[in-house]
């Protein structure tokens, strides 16, 4: 039996009807067409589906869609403000912190959630913040360098 679900995603209110077993990632990708959020494993081990829910990073393959009732969700599509990229996105560009790019949306969301909680994380805190996200291409260090620069205030929000 489908049930009504309402929440906001990237600031936009949405209303969908979902089965109780439907996962949040399925709603985001399949119903809302926001394909920036990826799936890499389906057992919450790879982090590719990471989104921000009520200010915290969650793996959207391990959240039932109905658990998001009333929630505020941010996906990778919600990071840029209009044409302005977020500081973390710009740092990723400068440091080449992505290669195939498939893990990048999840990585950006884990990093964004980390900075929401702690605007100036240390290197170790950064590593721990992205430890749940697998990147098979970069070896993580370029991501850590980018986030260290964000932590040091080298990237500001653009007006």
């Amino acid at each position: 039996m489908k049930q009504r679900l309402t929440f906001t995603i990237n600031g936009n209110p949405v209303e969908v009807y979902v089965e109780p077993k439907t996962l949040l990632v399925e709603v985001i990708r399949d119903k809302l067409g926001l394909t920036g959020t990826k799936r890499g494993c389906s057992d919450s081990s790879c982090g590719a589906c990471t989104v921000i829910m009520n200010g915290y990073s969650v793996k959207s393959c391990s959240v039932l869609a109905l658990q998001a009732e009333g929630a505020e969700i941010i996906t990778v599509e919600g990071l840029a403000k209009g044409t302005k990229l977020s500081p973390i996105q710009r740092a990723f560009l400068d440091h080449g912190s992505y290669q195939c790019g498939f893990c990048t949306p999840g990585m950006l969301m884990s990093a964004t959630a980390l900075f929401l909680e702690n605007p100036h994380p240390t290197k170790q805190e950064i590593k721990e913040g992205i430890d749940g996200n697998i990147c098979r291409c970069t070896g993580y260090n370029s991501i850590v360098r980018a986030l260290m620069d964000v932590s040091a205030g080298k990237y500001k929000e653009e007006d």
């Binding site: 057992d43 749940g132 990147c135 370029s142």
Partner: protein, 763 residues
């Protein structure tokens, strides 16, 4: 690294695909949907070896929402393989008709209106199997009486390879010291973040378009055409953004083939995405190998002879495994000047998931075994490990007898840099050790077992009225950054800015035929093709500019930074954009089209160029538990002229994650042919907190065969880490690990054994 004579090359630029990738707008095959699209699923064998007696699909076909079911009966009954020149090595039906050979072999596929219905339909397909005795270890599979996996293949030997030069037996007699050692190399999963997937759309006009996550859209086009009985030109293969490849995505796979068959039955787009479990169990993987090495040296450390015998676990089919067998033998001689060398390799069929190419392509196995043995030899002779490598290492213009001709080679500079690093560390804390490994790697393969009639690499450049350059290449950017590197080469060669170039890659409908991205081909081979195409276009522009600028015969014109000028008086010239307008008008309004291609000729047997490096791995081991940390990895590396420095850093660090994982934790244990850890939760790999500090010491070299002097830069870096780690563990706590991966558990057991022996000796 920096080079002022270039305007684009060597600069730190944003990846041309970067903005799409950091905003989530990059579309992968995984993301594609089309109106009316069906979803496909594949039924796979639960048996490692069995006859198929009957497949009944009638119940599945009746399920509401199911639109098509296919089995081997719906195919042309052909077998395919990427070694097309050797029909006996084309041994894979993809949809098995009469026999399955590993757990995961496809037997049927379903297309339905959604994934759930397709999944449900799979459960309704009844397959009657007659299980056959199976064999999983290649050493068992070559024995008399072992189950025969492919008809007519004696001792299950799929292919053998022999490489020899000098007189090995005589040379061993002249050696002061000989070592014989045995190693084993485990399996490794590519673990691409995007699993294999394809959307195939066969339309009523009898044409097929396939969007797929691949490293070579041309191979997929050609192999599909053969398997489906279509003309190559009626199949268009497009590679959208691709979530990693690492060697695992350039053979025709079950998602591509089954989705195409299902679409031909329905004339609807059919999407198949392999699950992560299928990705682990039913796609190809790194080749496990048994390695036996005999190494002979003079007292002074001169290496006189090496003999290598290898048996590889082939799994059920050939694929690219035949190439890995050859390359592991060739790279076992690297990077040393052995006057006498012999390699015998056997690839043996087993009832396990097929093994094939993976980043490093046989070389990481060779380095794991060979670089540990070199250290053991140095230890026996009382020679410094760096010194023995220096004494025997490749040098520029060295010929590997009968095999390869080395032009640029920076191995000795790399050794010097690593020696400086090791010395700078001074006396290490207890239970800490640094191990080194040296390596070399190819810049694309010369071999043509695919039997392509086309040039190995090709590119087209099209210039439009506003000076914008469209670059068309068959290179496949799978994350390694070829779109950026090739755009940079194009911009430099033509004399325009990077932002003037727009790249179109990996679409057989619009790009020239090209072998794709594997074996470190792209920078050198595609780079040469792109450079030639850009220079062809430039020449056409300069012919027009010459009319205006009227150069004297001694003057020469060139373009740099969008300025067409006299080379000896660069301030005199005209704008590139003006010349483009004039040129297009002068050519009856035609676009300026430049064409380029590259096929290596008379460059030996393997590759036109080789890159070199030396890596130092530092570990600290807890002697009580065997647990160890990778403290840092320092790599001295040369890849000719550096085109894209950001790209190289990423390749290096990424290689350490993958090759460090190969050495440290990645494994695919099996029980009766069943992979026991087919999930990301259970397949352990290096995560951010485990990742060591990394440092690159870039060495300047210039490769005459490469575009602007560039050569291979990313794949070879996967070679040294496991071997260097093995040496580091030995240097830290005095135990030698022979079987990959060198897990803390193995270190613990080796330490226990060492303690027991020491105790015994005291008695």
């Amino acid at each position: 690294m920096s080079n002022t004579k270039y305007s684009v090359i060597g600069k730190r630029v944003h990846n041309v695909d970067g903005p799409a990738k950091v905003t989530g707008s990059a579309q992968y095959t995984f993301d594609l949907t089309f109106p009316g699209m069906l979803y496909g699923k594949i039924l796979r064998s639960p048996y490692p070896h069995a006859k198929i007696l009957n497949i009944d699909t009638s119940k599945a076909e009746k399920l509401i929402g199911v639109k098509a079911v296919v089995t081997g009966k719906d195919t042309l009954g052909k077998k395919q393989g990427i070694w097309r020149r050797f029909p006996e090595l084309c041994d894979e039906e993809i949809l098995c008709r009469s026999k399955v050979r590993y757990i995961g072999d496809p037997v049927a596929a379903v297309a339905a209106i959604d994934e759930e219905t397709a999944e449900e339909a799979l459960n309704l397909i009844e397959v009657e199997y007659e299980p056959l005795p199976a064999v999983f270890d290649p050493m068992e599979a070559i024995k008399d009486g072992a189950p025969q996996i492919h008809d007519g293949v004696e001792m299950n030997i799929n292919i053998n390879r022999h490489i020899e030069w000098g007189n090995v037996d005589e040379a061993f007699e002249q050696c002061d010291h000989i070592r014989e050692d045995y190693f084993h190399c485990s399996s490794q999963a590519h673990m691409c973040m995007e699993t294999h997937c394809a959307v195939s759309h066969y339309t009523y006009d009898k044409k097929l378009t396939v969007w797929t996550s691949t490293q070579s859209n041309y191979y997929i086009q050609a192999l599909l055409a053969d398997m489906l009985g279509m003309r190559e030109g009626d199949i268009r293969v497009i590679k959208p953004h691709t979530g990693g490849g690492f060697g695992g995505k350039f053979e025709l796979d079950s998602a591509q083939f089954c989705s195409a068959l299902l679409s031909m039955k329905t004339c609807k787009p059919v999407k198949i995405v392999l699950s992560r479990e299928e990705e682990f169990t039913a796609t190809k993987r790194r080749t496990p190998m048994y390695y036996a090495l005999k190494l002979g040296a003079k007292k002074d450390g001169t290496l006189l002879a090496k003999e290598v015998r290898v048996v590889t676990e082939g799994g059920a089919y050939t694929g690219m495994g035949a190439t890995a067998l050859y390359l592991t033998g060739f790279f076992s001689s690297f990077p040393y000047r052995y006057p006498n060398y012999r390699y015998d390799g056997y690839r043996v069929y087993t009832n396990t998931a097929p093994t094939s190419a993976m980043r490093g392509f046989g070389a990481p196995q060779a380095v794991w075994a060979g670089e540990q043995q070199i250290d053991m030899m140095a230890h026996d002779l009382g020679i410094d490990p760096i010194e023995i490598r220096r004494k025997n290492g490749h040098v520029p213009n060295y010929e590997v007898p009968g095999q390869a001709y080395i032009q640029s080679c920076g191995l000795h500079q790399c050794l010097d840099k690593i020696e400086e690093f090791v010395k700078s560390r001074g006396k290490l804390p207890p239970n800490t050790g640094i191990g080194i490994a040296a390596y070399g790697f190819m810049s694309g393969g010369i071999f043509n077992w695919f039997d392509t009639p086309y040039a190995f690499a090709a590119a087209t450049v099209r210039i439009s009225i506003d000076g914008k350059v469209d670059l068309y290449t068959g290179a496949n950017d799978i994350g390694q950054g070829s779109n950026t590197t090739l755009s940079m080469i194009c911009a430099e060669a033509l004399g325009v800015r990077l932002e003037d170039v727009r790249i179109h890659s990996a679409d057989t409908g619009i790009c020239p035929n090209d072998l794709g991205s594997w074996g470190s081909r792209e920078t050198l081979m595609n780079g040469n093709a792109v450079k030639m195409a850009a220079e062809d276009a430039k020449k056409q522009l300069l012919e027009i500019a010459a009319v205006k600028l009227k150069p004297n015969i001694v003057y020469d014109l060139d373009i740099k930074d969008c300025w067409v000028h006299f080379t000896n008086r660069p301030e005199r010239g005209i704008s590139y954009y003006e010349v483009v307008k004039d040129a297009i008008r002068a050519k009856d309004g035609q676009n300026i089209i430049g064409r380029g291609y590259y096929t290596p000729h008379r460059k030996g047997m393997i590759s036109p160029a080789y890159s070199y490096g030396v890596q130092a791995v530092e570990v600290t081991v807890d002697p009580e538990t065997g647990r160890y940390t990778l403290n840092q990895v320092v790599t001295a590396h040369e890849s000719g002229t550096v085109i894209n420095p950001v790209g190289i850093e990423g390749q290096l660090e990424g290689a350490i994650m993958m090759a460090g994982g190969y050495g440290y934790c990645e494994d695919q244990p099996m029980d009766d042919g069943k992979i026991l850890n087919p999930s990301v939760a259970d397949y352990k790999l290096i995560r951010a907190c485990d990742m060591p500090e990394t440092k690159i010491l870039e060495i300047d070299t210039y490769e005459p065969e490469g575009p602007f002097g560039a050569k291979e830069a990313g794949e070879g870096l996967t070679n040294p880490t496991a071997g260097a780690l093995g040496n580091a563990i030995f240097n830290a706590v005095g135990v030698r690990i022979y079987n990959l991966p060198a897990t803390p558990e193995k270190v613990f057991r080796a330490l226990q054994e060492k303690k027991a022996k020491e105790k015994e000796a005291k008695k």
